[in-house]
Assembly symmetry: C2
Homo-oligomer: 443 residues x 2
């Protein structure tokens, strides 16, 4: 039997080869028929042979591929639009392939052997140390490596936080529905907060009954205002008096084009603010690398929620990013892309001023997206027009909390970071064609 198995395993007996009936093989080998019969049975059960009524016993076609995808199941990914201004990814063509490879080479050369063993759920110390220095320098974050927890992105951070927070979470009434769903899936009730051009109206925060508030202080997403200085002070006061936490989603804090960026709220009170960041906007959403900077008293609970060992974040990419930070590669990439996105935003504003002066761009000169205000009631038709032109762009509606206290606003959320450089001008032209005509103008 072992000989048979090896003959098949080594390919000497080709798949499909018909074996002699076990009785005749038994006779040839001078063995008891049921011995050979049992051997055949084992080989069938182990997947080496197939027995079928009529066609006898044959060498199995191990791993015969299955029929290709039946398209009525699991639809293929949607095909790419002609013009892509869907928020809010960085330009995938700008990924610094050579610099990232160099960082990976250095990281692989320098990594201690234990980097290839089971990982610490806090993440690699090399990365937490580099992040502590970088976030202080670039974003005014005040922390220490033992307060940094590496994760696959802000989504995982919110799932983990949602599972350890003791009560409801206040959220901006305009924001990522995706983030709201993650908090809800983790068992948190959500309390929507009004949002205006100065960010969330934190004075509306409940005096009791909210465990935390999720904010985008540097650049409200999507509306686009920075949190007003008085509100920055007020939300810290709220956290101190109620014992609540501020969850600061600093998703694009590195991209400010008109001035030095406002520092992270976390710097005002590291014991009451959880700072969240990732590489999804600055480098690529495909790397799945993010970080939480947490108050000392929350570290153990979050690590318990993450689990006893690192199940999520690859050590090599952590070490490559640590090197990318230490070697200045990240700063260089940010300086370069800041110029690209700043130029695109200027071009967007200039194009609208020239061709659609009745449409205003709200929010500050920052990040990878802009919101265009639309006349009341024109959002759905504008989106249909965009679709007809093959232009991918979002409306404001999907970002609005269903119980949001504000009346719904009409607008477009567009990501000027998304398309490759060569396609940007064409995308803006399509946008102008999709926009509603000026009041009184002939459609």
């Amino acid at each position: 039997m072992r000989a048979l198995r090896e003959a098949i395993g080594s390919g000497r007996l080709a798949p499909g080869t018909r074996l002699p009936p076990y009785r005749s093989l038994a006779k040839d080998l001078d063995l008891a028929p049921n011995t050979v019969g049992a051997a055949y049975g084992e080989l069938v059960a182990e997947g080496w042979l197939t027995a079928r009524q009529g066609s006898g016993t044959r060498v199995a076609r191990r791993g015969t591929p299955l029929p290709p995808q039946r398209t009525h199941r699991t639809a293929p990914p949607p095909r790419r639009p002609a013009h892509d201004l869907a928020p809010t990814s960085p330009d995938a063509a700008e990924f610094p392939r050579a610099a990232w490879l160099a960082a990976t080479r250095r990281a692989l050369a320098a990594a201690p052997n234990d980097a290839f063993g089971v990982g610490d759920p806090r993440g690699r110390l090399e990365l937490r140390t580099q992040l502590t220095e970088y976030l202080a320098r670039a974003r005014g974050v005040r922390t220490a490596p033992h307060r940094v927890v590496i994760c696959t992105g802000v989504a995982q951070a919110l799932s983990l936080l949602g599972s350890v927070l003791p009560g409801p979470v206040a959220v901006e009434s305009y924001g990522l529905d995706f983030h709201r769903s993650l908090l809800a899936a983790a068992g948190r009730d959500l309390v929507p907060l009004p949002v205006d051009d100065h960010g969330a109206e934190v004075l509306a925060l409940p005096a009791t009954g909210a465990a935390a508030v999720l904010l985008t202080p540097a650049h409200q997403f999507p509306i686009g205002g920075p949190l007003h200085p008085e509100r920055r002070a007020a939300v810290i006061d709220w956290a101190r008096t109620t014992g609540g936490l501020v969850l600061e989603d600093d998703y694009d804090g590195e991209y400010r084009y008109d001035r030095e960026p406002v520092g992270a709220l976390q710097g005002l009170d590291p014991d009451r603010v959880v700072y969240l960041g990732s590489l999804s906007k600055s480098l690529s959403p495909a790397l799945r690398l993010g970080w939480m900077v947490v108050p000392d008293h929350l570290v153990d609970a979050l690590l318990a929620a993450k689990g006893p060992r690192e199940l999520w974040c690859g050590a090599l990419e952590q070490l490559a990013f640590a090197d990318f930070l230490a070697s200045g590669g990240y700063d260089r990439h940010l300086r370069r892309t800041r110029q690209i996105y700043r130029r695109r935003r200027d071009q967007l504003v200039a194009t609208l001023a020239a061709h659609a002066p009745h449409i205003t761009v709200t929010g500050i000169a920052a990040g990878l997206h802009a919101v265009l205000e639309l006349p009341p009631g024109t959002e759905p038709e504008t989106l249909r027009a965009a679709a007809r032109l093959g232009l991918a762009v979002n409306g404001l509606a999907p970002y609005r909390h269903p119980d949001g206290p504000l009346p719904a606003r009409d607008g477009l959320v567009l990501g000027y970071g998304t398309p490759p450089e060569h396609a940007f001008t064409g995308a803006l032209q399509a946008l102008c064609l999709a926009l509603p005509p000026a009041p009184g103008a002939k459609g």
Copy 2:
């Protein structure tokens, strides 16, 4: 104010610099005092300035680091034992750094730009295609790329499966408590199955009421037997008659030393078996890369559970591994490490035969771990002796399901893959000293 902000941001105004009282600055600038007062207030709220009673208004030390870790919180990782035979990691020193870097270089050069955008939760098609070919060839898995779902490892796979399965899951009464916890956390009741030297006693599977059974057919973990051919056939019959699923954890199927490995159970019925694999044993648990091969009817549910976009698995490592497979690097690494681990297991068996002939090694010549049978009742004392010798090794007790139908067995589970080559012989010597003496021998 903007001038002030930029002076601070650029560092021209050093942290700690004391600013003039706003009244005198107002006088100098010929501005209304409350204008300047308000400006100071904003800069404080933005984190640029600090105002303290008495010491006046100063330029903030942005990102002042916090005190280092207070050790009574988040304990540092345990320090490494003198001799490490803890199951079941591959030897971290054997990670193929140069070959992996070369695969990463080729992957980065060949990657389309969309690889740096938001990812498909199924995983990269390049990898799913390579895995389809590799798993057919190496493990007899019958699948197609659209039935492969990439994940961060078997742990994530079990969490996702646990969330979509409609009922209880039968588990081997000896197995990873960690895996049982993941299924339980996903809401699944667990039904322990007896395990003997022929694997799980699948004839004890309930005729109704179990949605699935989690098995380690190629090499029962930890006891060490392969699932008996009759049981392989029987569990497939069970799945077909009850509509249940078999979850096949093929955690070390590539490491068989005495013969061609038994093919994956999945090859017997791709519509009733979910095949689970990862790089954690074959390459490194630090890469966080695994795969599920699932029946067609389960694909959509698992993708829905995973979410609308890839939040977990980095695209670059997926592409690097796809290249590693296509270029034959993975096969070369497996051939090389198979020789290393085979030699270590032989050395373990020979050492015990020479120095502790009363101790038997159970299970087949496969994988990265072995179980040593101990005289009844001697497991705890043996573990204490090992600890005194600085030897990391596990007992059988933590692997036993608390409601396991079998009487507890005494034994050691040791990972001969774990230590670096130079430390292996010393670890075996420590092991021999820790083992209980032969009956009648002078202790």
